[in-house]
Subunit: 367 residues, 2 copies
């Protein structure tokens, strides 16, 4: 099995290469001073340095639960399992459903697809349309699999956001078929207009809702979570504790201190949204100016911009681009069979305005 | 599949229970001030908060490698994979050798056995004797499995340390059979007299050597590592990145700063050794005084004391003990088939002198 294209790229490109490849948040937005203040507070507490509970520290689970409840999705600490990034959340679930069949969107998140392969799940890809997964295809597939993995908010890679109608339809199908939905939601806070209602909130006993602080605070904390019915959470603990006993205690206590001030966190989230919206708009302008043959939908949030260079093999093109010191992820990586196509995923959050303009011009020069 | 007895106990007992059960290091020895000083230094570095490399940060891998080299086991950064505790190191290896047969000691580390079960490995237990695994049994088993998992230094649970002769014999068998040895070594620094030579250093291309900062610094950092041949390390990366992309960056950068001062770390290790030796001696004295029917070998390092209450079912006994507010791990937990016996593992590092005396008296009262 091959490693992830993105992870390999991240490890092989030099610092002079303009990268639209990774899903890196902007370092300028890391609230380092506030995190430092929070960190200073944990050193008086010996418990922050000892082994802890497998499901995570109680105070942090309470805070995460409270955010759900505030949004109208009643949740308590026993519905939350802290994980080592939402990557691990996905790994735990894939291990839990080892060797099962699973319905996924196409294109889908590369990391999840690798996890599913590693845990012998058989993926059934259903076409993702502009307003969410094709419902007819989903219904037919889900009847057999009874298990689905989707990213309804600013999807990775396509930036697609599900319509309210499709959210309702998905919930209804999962309920009727008595199946399970894995709703991956690392980007839901990064909206430009409004926050969407999670599908999981409509089917709380039949869903796993995955969240992360990697995109809203800093990735290196490696803290994500699973929100699910208490019995479902309990059934995952044996896997969680086998993998790493518990997630980093230092990170959990830092986060717990940081989140004491809700207003500060909300302001920080708004700063990210404003900054990313500006970046997205600029990226679109530069594309329209220098690469008008690239067809895409303008993102409404998240970190990615996705589209198509018709008649071009974007996988072949990226090899040329790497030589010219610019890189993106070719669309074929996000499909189960990886047949080359003209699709491209651009990350717009990490590069500077200058790099964005220069990078797009460089891509054009490779055509 | 059942969860780990120790993890469940840890989550269910109240704070008034004297616990000899977990493998908890002493909180009094956590170098919190020095860790705080190290932590202060990471906040100027944005890289410490961004996504990082799957194998871990370069500087930390170099420092770990240098410690091996200094001890006469030539190692460079590419031989090191940073893991989320050595628990994850074991998980990664179990996933890598999924569904294979594996030779293990009996008794063995409960957490590893659970990981092997979860990843469908078939365990073949070989009797652990006072100077290490029974060589004849090991040789016969390894001829078939070509894969073994052992803990040669102050073993968990038995505190057994392999003789130099048995170390040589194991290395010879692994070499001759062209197999692989997984050498788990979280306690090797916690010696009272001398550090043992790792078996892996004799067979560097046929071994995985597992280390951890959980027992020597603080567990909540969740940082361990695998030392192996570069090609073997590379073959593990797909699994490592699938599980959590990379281990906590905050922890890695804190550790990297802390380890800048080698002398400080060496002094700290000596403090732990001195403290634990005192605790071990005291535990032995109290056992001899209040529970003379418990037969054991005096530990030479590590965190555990292991022995036998002949004619007693230690699993039945622990249920009574829990009611009286004292707990240990019954020996049957460390065997593949878990048939009750009279064996008991005591952790001596975490309780106070007062608690040790009181706890042993309470156990006696349950007999």
């Amino acid at each position: 099995m091959k490693r992830s294209f993105i992870r390999e790229i991240l490890e092989s490109i030099d610092e002079n290469t303009i990268s639209f490849a990774g899903g890196l948040p902007s370092e300028k937005l890391f609230p380092r001073e506030d995190l430092k203040t929070a960190t200073m507070k944990i050193f008086d507490n010996p418990k922050a340095f000892q082994y802890g509970l497998s499901n995570g520290i109680t105070e942090l689970r309470e805070k995460i639960a409270a955010r759900y409840t505030k949004e109208g999705f009643p949740t308590n600490k026993n519905n939350i399992l802290i994980t080592t990034g939402s990557q691990q959340a996905m790994y735990i679930l894939a291990k839990f459903y080892e060797s099962k069949d699973i319905t996924i969107e196409e294109p889908s998140y590369l990391g999840a697809m690798n996890i599913f392969r590693l845990n012998h799940l058989k993926m059934h890809g259903i076409k993702l349309e502009d307003d969410g997964i094709n419902i007819e295809g989903f219904k037919k597939s889900f009847k057999n699999t009874k298990l689905a993995y989707i990213i309804p908010d600013f999807q990775n890679p396509s930036a697609t956001t599900y319509s309210d109608k499709k959210r309702e339809e998905i919930a209804k199908i999962v309920e009727e078929e008595d199946g399970i939905l894995i709703e991956d939601s690392p980007y839901s806070e990064l909206y430009f207009d409004k926050k969407n209602i999670s599908i999981s909130s409509k089917i709380p006993k039949k869903s796993f809702h995955l969240g992360s602080f990697s995109k809203t605070l800093v990735p290196s904390l490696r803290i994500g979570w699973i929100r699910a019915d208490e019995d479902l959470i309990k059934s995952l603990l044996i896997i969680k504790e086998s993998i790493d006993l518990h997630s980093c205690g230092i990170s959990q206590y830092i986060l717990n201190e940081y989140l004491e001030d809700e207003v500060k966190y909300e302001n920080h989230l708004q700063d990210i949204r404003d900054d990313y919206e500006k970046k997205a708009n600029f990226f679109c302008e530069q594309l329209d100016k220098y690469l008008p043959e690239f067809k895409y939908q303008k993102p409404k949030g998240g970190m990615f911009l996705y589209g198509n260079l018709e008649g071009v093999d974007s996988f072949a093109l990226v090899q040329k681009c790497i030589e010219k010191k610019v890189v993106y992820v070719p669309g074929n990586q996000f499909y189960i069979d990886k047949i080359p196509n003209g699709e491209i995923r651009f990350n717009y959050t990490h590069s500077s305005f200058e790099q964005i303009e220069k990078g797009i011009k460089l891509i054009k020069s490779c055509l």
